[in-house]
């Protein structure tokens, strides 16, 4: 079906355009962008009060498929993405089996083509089985379509493997994503080390564990001339380390999550397993620094680290619960509430961090609104007030620290390749 989006506020960071326009979608592509467009055989949609942006891209998602489908699968994960306004998601390699070979990369891409509602990009592992011992077939995976390389949640302890992995990856001009947390400092930790952990008696994960790892990884990236990307930055000092590295020309980029931008470790005060995440929610000074890093460009992108778990895995004592929670369906609302409605960021800047930057980091032909491009479009109602209710989530992982939180702003439409996949929060293709 063709669609004519009438009278929406088009925000296109790639051209720094922000103005009222009509957008015509024909045969899956953007056919026209202009004023007073008319078209036969197109469904006309009134966009008054709505924002039309290039489709949002989440570069850090745990799709759990293959092997861990009880937590999430291709269908549920991509539906959650569509519901959250995302048109592309990049999935991390910690599946079963680990994405450490071209066969697994191709398998996920094949399944995505059949069952996925949004575009799925695959991130391959650095080491075989994410064991941190032996390089995976990085080149083979990239040739099969892997868009980045990472051992994701695993901290690569061996500096030698890290160096070799970076050197090898840099030949293919792909980003090398690292989880930065010095393992020996966080082994038994379950929350940020600070005032709240002192009060609760929970074992801490000190922020300096992240700082040390970020410093080491930056030094290795500088030495190997690698495109290093630091996942989910959460500490004040690591933001500063990245800032300094960028200033001296190191090819380092970074992402922050909505939860690290919005929540502090006080969310753990009730031992809520929904607030257990890695890296942990940190104190207000760290949250402030991460926000500042986002505003001044030190942090390039916003990514969810969507990490769904089955209900019973989170329904237990805090210490025993796995890290992570669902993020795809709350991300935009949290970011708009915390950064746009507080006047910290413009919609242009937010779309840049959630679409254009991830596209560029992953070398994707996306993040643009231009004639001839695939019609990957997100429609946003920035003023829509809603309350987070996980029972209505499309993801299988219902745990979220934002449960019951009132948010302002939401994706109300998602076009993927010209197909309307979500309208008013309802995913259309079941």
């Amino acid at each position: 079906m063709n669609y004519l989006l009438k009278g929406g506020r088009v925000i296109n960071p790639a051209e720094q355009f922000d103005g009222l326009m009509d957008v015509l979608i024909e045969e899956g592509k953007i056919a026209k962008i202009g004023k007073k467009i008319t078209a036969k055989d197109a469904k006309v949609m009134d966009m008054t009060g709505l924002v039309i942006t290039p489709g949002l891209i989440d570069m850090h998602v745990h799709l759990r498929d293959p092997g861990l489908e009880a937590k999430e699968d291709m269908a549920s994960g991509t539906r959650a993405a569509a519901a959250g306004g995302f048109t592309t998601i990049a999935c991390m390699p910690n599946t079963k089996p680990i994405v450490d070979s071209s066969i697994v990369v191709e398998g996920i891409l094949r399944r995505a083509a059949v069952e996925g509602l949004v575009h799925v990009a695959v991130i391959g592992s650095v080491s075989k089985g994410e064991s941190g011992k032996e390089l995976a077939e990085i080149g083979d995976m990239i040739l099969s379509g892997a868009v980045a390389i990472s051992d994701d949640g695993i901290y690569i302890n061996q500096a030698n493997l890290l160096k070799t992995g970076m050197e090898y990856t840099s030949m293919f001009d792909r980003i090398f994503i690292t989880h930065a947390e010095e393992k020996s400092l966080v082994e038994e930790g379950v929350m940020h080390e600070g005032k709240i952990s002192a009060k609760l008696g929970l074992k801490g994960r000190p922020s300096i564990a992240e700082d040390i790892a970020v410093a080491r990884n930056i030094m290795l990236a500088e030495y190997t001339d690698t495109r290093l990307h630091i996942a989910h930055v959460s500490s004040r000092e690591s933001v500063e380390l990245i800032r300094q590295a960028k200033a001296r020309g190191v090819k380092v980029t970074a992402e922050a999550t909505p939860h690290h931008l919005a929540l502090t470790d006080e969310a753990v005060l009730t031992f809520s397993t929904a607030a257990k995440v890695c890296p942990p929610l940190r104190s207000a000074e760290h949250v402030q620094a991460v926000r500042q890093g986002l505003l001044d460009g030190t942090i390039d992108a916003i990514a969810t680290d969507h990490a769904p778990h089955a209900f019973e895995e989170k329904d237990c004592e805090y210490n025993d619960a796995p890290n992570g929670f669902a993020g795809l369906e709350t991300a935009l609302g949290v970011v708009l509430t915390e950064l746009y409605h507080t006047k910290l960021m413009s919609l242009m800047d937010i779309v840049n961090k959630m679409s254009v930057a991830p596209a560029q980091l992953l070398n994707l032909k996306a993040g643009v609104l231009k004639v001839g491009a695939s019609a990957d479009i997100t429609i946003i109602n920035p003023e829509l007030s809603w309350t987070v209710d996980s029972t209505g989530f499309y993801t299988k992982g219902k745990s979220t620290p934002f449960e019951g939180r009132k948010l302002i702003g939401k994706a109300v439409g998602t076009f993927v390749g010209g197909r309307l996949m979500m309208e008013q929060g309802n995913v259309l293709s079941e």
């Binding site: 002192a198 009060k199 609760l200 008696g201 929970l202 031992f271 237990c316 004592e317 805090y318 210490n319």
Partner: protein
């Protein structure tokens, strides 16, 4: 008749931080009455007849479990002990399932000890019987905190301004956290002392003064609460050796003399004599350690009474 200033305004006893000063006073006044019962020839009263208490202990314990068991029995309740050394998760049954099984048997009160911080709070979200926290990881041990307050109140008119020094492994101590929370309500001046590796980062945020020099901390102390060194923690190398700990941080008569004359010496037990406390002071006149045990029983009787019957003025003796 027991007259309590206020009834308990809550159902569950999870920590001291969430109890008001008035509620704590109410518990301590009731505990005083309970001591009279303990000291009778025939201790059993029918106050809680027809009520059932389950001691659900996921961690080894002698004194707390026995204390709760006797507290329930002296008050006439039916008491059952369930002890499991392994975590419910390791056994394959979730904590929620275990609690629901106990609930299904119609119990009124579940006294729970668990290695995980927050486990007692989680239990309140799983089942409807009253939950009394008998220790959750390093978080809280409210009945120990209450019995320590009770012991101090036996000797001092007011806890306000009292200098209380807690010595030892603060990081892993639910006793320390409960003492700090309880003493804060009464305006005591709390000091922590021990090796830096055993005191949590940002401990000052708990409203205490931190010392790494025990002698300095002990000066003019009214109460010295010595914590047990958890030797199992020693594997992770938080201090070089028990010998070194005893030499630099161990409580002995020379160090205790730095406190005010007649200062109270407390220890939650079990003691590592020769390590955190020297044998000569463990049973000295200043030591309240044996008294703490009896006070613990009184406090637990008071709590069972208050949470089960709502703290109304109820005739204790029939």
């Amino acid at each position: 008749m027991i007259k309590t200033p206020v009834s308990l305004r809550r159902k569950n006893i999870l920590d001291l931080a969430s109890l008001s000063k008035e509620e704590i006073e109410s518990i301590l006044i009731t505990a005083k009455e309970m001591k009279n019962v303990i000291n009778r020839d025939i201790k059993k009263v029918p106050t809680l007849r027809g009520k059932s208490v389950v001691n659900l202990f996921f961690e080894p314990s002698t004194r707390t479990r026995t204390s709760f068991e006797l507290a329930g029995k002296y008050l006439g309740a039916d008491v059952v002990n369930i002890t499991t050394s392994s975590s419910s998760v390791v056994k394959g049954e979730s904590l929620r399932d275990t609690l629901m099984t106990v609930e299904a048997m119609g119990v009124d009160v579940i006294v729970m000890r668990h290695k995980a911080e927050g486990a007692a709070l989680f239990a309140t979200q799983c089942v409807s019987p009253v939950i009394i926290n008998a220790g959750d990881g390093a978080h809280a041990h409210p009945t120990q905190g209450l019995l320590d307050l009770f012991t101090m109140k036996q000797h001092y008119d007011s806890l306000s301004g009292l200098k209380v020094v807690i010595v030892g492994d603060i990081t892993h101590s639910r006793v320390a956290r409960s003492n700090i929370a309880g003493l804060a309500k009464f305006g005591a001046d709390v000091h922590l002392a021990g090796p830096k590796t055993l005191i949590p980062k940002d401990a000052e945020s708990l409203g205490v003064t931190v010392h790494y020099n025990v002698e300095e901390a002990l000066k003019d102390a009214d109460v010295v609460n010595v914590l047990r060194i958890q030797l199992e923690r020693q594997k992770s190398g938080l201090f070089p050796s028990p010998r070194e700990y005893a030499r630099i941080f161990g409580m002995n008569s020379k160090r205790l003399a730095l406190a005010k004359p007649g200062a109270l010496l407390l220890h939650p037990g079990p003691m590592n004599r020769g390590l955190e406390i020297s044998p000569d002071i463990a049973y000295s006149d200043q030591s309240m350690i044996a008294g703490q045990v009896q006070n613990g029983l009184a406090v637990r009787m008071a709590l069972l009474f208050l949470v089960t019957l709502g703290g109304k003025n109820i005739e204790l003796l029939a």
